[in-house]
């Protein structure tokens, strides 16, 4: 899976493309690791080009969130589609990250 990382003001934006499941999660994880290794104040995951995600993606995000929290990096999400939004709501992941516009 292709994952773009771009700088936007003082944030890094991670933009995965396609679907996030067991087959693609390692690309997603590596992109989040690369972004976190730059110690930005904020990492925004932009879900605009993601059409599907399952709990494998949730596991990846939770693990990366712990690393980011220890480095004082804020984790945000934006452009969350309906399927991913429902997944986030049902797993309670919105309690640890911020939804931004």
């Amino acid at each position: 899976m292709e994952v773009q990382i771009t700088a936007e003001r003082d944030s890094l934006v991670v933009r995965p493309n396609g679907y996030i499941d067991e087959y693609t999660a390692h690309d997603f994880r590596r992109a989040l690791e690369r972004a976190a290794d730059q110690y930005p104040p904020t990492i925004i995951i932009d879900f605009e080009d993601v059409d599907f995600m399952d709990s494998t993606g949730i596991g990846t995000m939770l693990a990366r969130y712990k690393v980011m929290r220890d480095r004082n990096i804020e984790l945000c999400v934006r452009n969350v589609g309906k399927q991913v939004d429902k997944l986030f709501r049902l797993t309670g992941i919105y309690s640890i990250l911020n939804l931004v516009r």
Binding site: Y19, D21, E22, Y23, S55, T56, G59, Q83, L87, T91
Partner: protein, 141 residues
């Protein structure tokens, strides 16, 4: 209730096949004119069930995954069966955040999400023989 149609799909366990499995089941279910949200619910539940087969039942090795989909007037029954390692304690495995691989980056939410996205989920497992997950969903149509 009279069955409208059915399909059977057997795939070899592989992470790459999960996308094909959930998309195929969702496409078959579309004959009942479900809403987009209902289609996404089916996709998510199937993805979780097949992922359990690939990651937990077969642990990355080859193995058959049988998927049977039965369509009724306004509901669907999906059966996902593997012949992998199986487990003893179904109640424990279905607890939120439970995972048999705690050292990996896993949410332990697979069965919880199947239950959240479908109306009914039944799990039968026998250690050394495999696991069968039966899920049912009624559509609003």
């Amino acid at each position: 209730m009279k069955m409208d149609n059915y399909c059977k799909l057997t795939v070899n366990s592989a992470t790459k096949i999960e996308s094909f499995a959930r998309s195929t089941v969702a496409a078959f279910c579309s004959m009942l004119n479900p809403t987009l949200e209902e289609v996404n619910d089916i996709k998510t539940a199937v993805s979780e069930a097949v992922n359990n087969c690939v990651v937990h039942a077969y642990g990355g090795e080859d193995g058959a995954i049988d998927i049977e989909v039965e369509l009724f007037e306004n509901c669907v029954q999906i059966c996902v069966r593997d012949y992998g390692c199986g487990f003893d304690n179904v109640n424990e495995a279905m607890q939120p955040f439970y995972t048999s691989k705690p050292h990996e980056e896993r949410s332990g939410m697979g069965f919880t999400l199947m239950q959240a996205f479908m109306n009914e989920v039944e799990v039968v497992s026998r250690k050394g023989e495999g696991t069968t997950v039966v899920m049912r969903k009624t559509f609003a149509c």
